[in-house]
Symmetry: C2
């Protein structure tokens, strides 16, 4: 008997665990106001898409729950640090994030820089707990560290940001634009799925299907982001709309046009769902629903 999948209830349950874990692991007591800035950057905001992807992938392969929860928080901490640094005056110089003043506006630039740095370190601390207390083997921890570090660094998110930076005021080919997004946003989204898969022992076929799912979803996310930057308003987005155009940044919309971008997002969704269909995994309902959510969101 196939039961109906209650996606909103699934999300609510997962988010409750993620928020509780972040509350516990992001320190309030770090000195010099650092803990306060870190908590401000991470708690009370964000759609937690990356954690949800980790947990959905771990569920699909029946992975270790605490490893998945730690991975979910680890990847969210990397995401949160990148937003703090991205918003700084020397980068995007943004003053509004999730409807609140950005970290450097609230705490000053120096503490924002440090808070971002400390959040990145915390991401790796969270995924490498005492193996005896956590029951997470060294092998799994090392795998998680490897996936997360590669996705965050020069061959992933930071590399994509560097391309973005170098492209301002210039122009990118579609190939270069795709490469930038594959690294800047896609790498961490794909890593979320891979980390979830690394919390169990998926065979090589399911693992490779999840990898294709993650790659398509990561790209779709950015295409939709570019569409929303043009079509949504700041209040709905919870951040400044139209800023890509204002900064003369190349986007899928500026390159392909609005309707072709929408068609492209739809094709990527089909690709992601197709990968799940041939994965051989039984329980991919949350992954399917997340892919639809990414493409059909309005903020």
């Amino acid at each position: 008997m196939k039961t109906t999948f209650d996606f909103p209830a699934w999300i609510q349950g997962q988010l409750a665990d993620v928020e509780q874990a972040l509350q516990a692991w992001v320190p309030g007591s770090a000195p010099g106001g650092l803990g306060e800035a870190m908590r401000y950057a991470v708690l009370d905001g964000g759609k937690r898409l990356r954690p949800l992807l980790v947990l959905a992938a771990a569920e699909a392969i029946n992975g270790h729950r605490e490893a998945a929860l730690r991975s979910a928080c680890g990847v969210e901490l990397i995401h949160a640090y990148s937003l703090v640094h991205d918003d700084m005056p020397c980068m995007d110089n943004d003053v509004l994030r999730r409807g609140k003043p950005t970290v450097h506006v609230k705490f000053g630039e120096a503490l924002a820089l440090l808070a971002g740095d400390a959040l990145q370190a915390l991401a790796f601390e969270v995924i490498a707990p005492d193996p005896h207390e956590s029951g997470i083997s060294g092998d799994v921890q090392a795998r998680l560290c490897r996936i997360l570090a590669r996705a965050a660094g020069h061959g992933g998110m930071a590399g994509g940001q560097a391309i973005d930076l170098a492209s301002v005021g210039g122009s990118l080919s579609e190939t270069q634009l795709r490469q930038m997004h594959r690294l800047k946003t896609g790498a961490l989204l794909q890593a979320s799925v891979a980390m979830g898969a690394a919390c169990g022992s998926a065979g090589s076929e399911p693992a490779s299907a999840l990898d294709r799912y993650g790659a398509a979803l990561g790209l779709a996310f950015q295409v939709v982001d570019d569409i929303l930057d043009v079509t949504a308003d700041s209040a709905t987005l919870g951040k400044t709309a139209g800023k890509d155009a204002a900064h003369d940044k190349p986007t899928y919309v500026s390159l392909l046009g609005l309707d072709p971008s929408r068609a492209y997002a739809q094709a990527l969704l089909d690709e992601a769902l197709g990968a799940l269909a041939v994965s051989g995994l039984a329980n991919t309902r949350a992954l399917e629903a997340l892919a639809r959510m990414v493409v059909e969101r309005n903020n």
Copy 2:
């Protein structure tokens, strides 16, 4: 037969391996100028004290050589990223480092921020290689990740920097000053020793002796740094001398006076050497020589 220990030759041999490894692992090809900025920050400069501590500790416990070399590079990458971010205008606003323009002066603030971020991620990437190719077990990798993340983050280096930031223009008690330095500089030096020890299977007694050695050496390093900020000139230091006084930062010298600071450094050296003497480890000659070097250096 006890042979004489040729410390300069030991250093030369270790440094050759460290430089070669850093050359190999710090990417030149990362996009958008990021690789160039990362290499500029890491290569061709620095005394490599932390890598030497890792390698000396690993030698003392007869640890896995590639694990030690990866740990040595990992901890140096964390150190290098912290210098890049420390030098930025919103922090110390320093233009000279190791006799060269700082990274943000050379590459701009945005790329300096990204290069620092990418160097931190690379540190964790380097210590978590494929276990089959590297021969480093997941257990060892996870231990290294745990030690390094804790030392770099809010409970270590970043936490110490936040105290430092909060103290500018104010005053600290000796207890608070010691706490700041224990975190800001001491944590990573102590972690270097602990990571070296984690590359093998030291018993609990040697491990605890090495930990006491690392703690004393970490503190001694900072006391001597404060002394040199007053007594050395910029050319010898390879960075701007007298900047702590100029920024009205509390130091050991401003708090204790010059001669008591020197006596304190000497007492910490004795403490470090004493810990080695009771460690039960046979081959601690490099660790001994490094402790003397830290206290007797003039830059």
